[in-house]
């Protein structure tokens, strides 16, 4: 599994854990769970959820910087997109799940669980550059650098290393 995807799974499991604790579905109390993330909050208020979400984002961002070089850049970009709205989404998901009289809250909370892919849109590099000299591609569909003659993309030997 790509390291960025593994990190995204951990993010999901933190999200579930925090939302369950806020809903009183965990063995530990909300205050204990919040404290484990370094947040002192006696009740799961929107501010408390956002603070816990922010703590998760900070932890995940730190972990991401450690694995970024080994991960697929697109997966990294999409994960960063998720992290941008994670804290606010966590607070909203709790608000929606606790505010429903008809038990529809879980539907709204789950709906936003994997939101955020659009955060990566438009942030992917848009000019292909030579791997050797960094010069931009000069002609579409020609993948030999017009400046140094090197390959624009990795060769088979480089890929298998």
């Amino acid at each position: 599994m790509d390291p960025a995807d593994a990190l995204a799974q951990q993010l999901d499991s933190h999200r579930r854990h925090v939302l369950d604790a806020a809903a009183g579905k965990e063995a530990s109390s909300w205050a204990e769970v919040a404290a484990a993330y370094g947040v002192q909050a006696p009740s799961p208020s929107p501010e408390a959820l956002e603070a816990v979400g922010q703590a998760i984002v900070e932890g995940c961002t730190a972990a991401l910087s450690g694995i970024e070089k080994d991960a697929d850049p697109r997966r990294v970009t999409f994960l960063k997109g998720r992290l941008e709205k994670f804290a606010a989404d966590l607070a909203l998901a709790h608000k929606q799940s606790s505010g429903s009289k008809l038990g529809l809250g879980g539907i709204f909370a789950n709906a936003t669980a994997h939101a955020g892919w659009t955060g990566g849109h438009g942030k992917i590099k848009r000019v292909i550059r030579c791997r050797t000299c960094g010069a931009p591609q000069q002609e579409a569909r020609v993948f030999v650098c017009s400046f140094c003659g090197g390959p624009v993309f990795a060769t088979d030997e480089e890929t298998s290393e």
Partner: protein, 272 residues
């Protein structure tokens, strides 16, 4: 209708009105919740679509209670309380209610999605004002059309830029146009539902006589009108010509799976 029959109809109506109340409550909560999700994720239709999938399931569960209650507790009572005609009264009430139930939820969903689509328009307009720039030297780039990906050679430094349209434009053209077109065509789809119920009852009253050719022709015209409305609205939103090939493909499907199965139609028009 005798007193016993009236009492039975009243009880059945009472049950159905409870289901309607429950649906109204779901729609009220769904509308508010979906508006909140759309505001939180203005350019990403996935959370909204996820929410509607979950809500669809909940609405379906509620709808199933009509059938379960009818089968388990009501149908026998309507059968025992009168002749076949009285059973038809109960069946018709159930069918009318189910149709109204479906249309009520369809209208609510269409409004949720159309509101979301309308909220994308100013974002798409704003995005269309952005000047794409070369990723290498920053010189302005001119895509052939703003809504399609393409490779553009920078006029200043010749670097090949992979132009990606702004997400607001992609979302507006991709999803919003479809939602707005569906909302515009929905009343015509629902008119077809009513028409088919009317035809079924006409046939039932005549010992399931075949549907007359004029009725089948009317049905086809209504289908054509529905798909034309959809395609016209989509074309209006996108500022493009009406996609006649799309209308033709939808009608070919309808002809093949509805009219070409009908002997009256085939005898009159063949399968061409």
């Amino acid at each position: 209708m005798n007193a016993e029959q009236q009492a039975l109809v009243q009880r059945w109506d009472g049950f159905l009105s409870k289901i309607k109340e429950r649906l109204d409550e779901i729609i009220a909560e769904a509308t508010a919740g979906c508006a909140q999700i759309a505001a939180q994720h203005p350019l990403d239709s996935l959370p909204l679509s996820n929410a509607l999938t979950g809500l669809d399931h909940r609405v379906r569960q509620l709808r199933e209670r009509i059938e379960q209650t009818w089968d388990g507790q009501v149908e026998d009572k309507f059968s025992d309380a009168g002749d076949g005609d009285f059973l038809d009264v109960g069946l018709d009430k159930k069918e009318d209610f189910e149709t109204a139930f479906d249309h009520h939820w369809q209208n609510a969903k269409a409004k949720i999605l159309a509101d979301y689509a309308a909220s994308l328009y100013p974002l798409a307009q704003e995005a269309s004002q952005q000047q794409p720039k070369c990723d290498q030297c920053g010189a302005p780039l001119q895509p052939a059309v703003i809504h399609k990906s393409e490779t553009i050679a920078c006029p200043a430094c010749s670097a090949q830029n992979l132009y990606e349209p702004p997400l607001a434009i992609v979302a507006y053209r991709g999803t919003a146009a479809h939602y707005l077109a569906e909302a515009a065509a929905l009343p015509k789809r629902q008119a077809i539902d009513f028409f088919r119920i009317e035809v079924d009852r006409w046939r039932r009253a005549r010992e399931w006589a075949p549907e007359p050719l004029e009725s089948l022709e009317k049905w086809r015209a209504m289908e054509q009108d529905h798909w034309t409305t959809y395609a016209q609205e989509k074309a209006r939103v996108l500022g493009e010509p009406v996609d006649q090939a799309y209308i033709t493909s939808r009608m070919e499907y309808f002809d093949k799976y509805e009219l070409h199965m009908n002997q009256v139609w085939v005898n009159a028009h063949g399968k061409g």
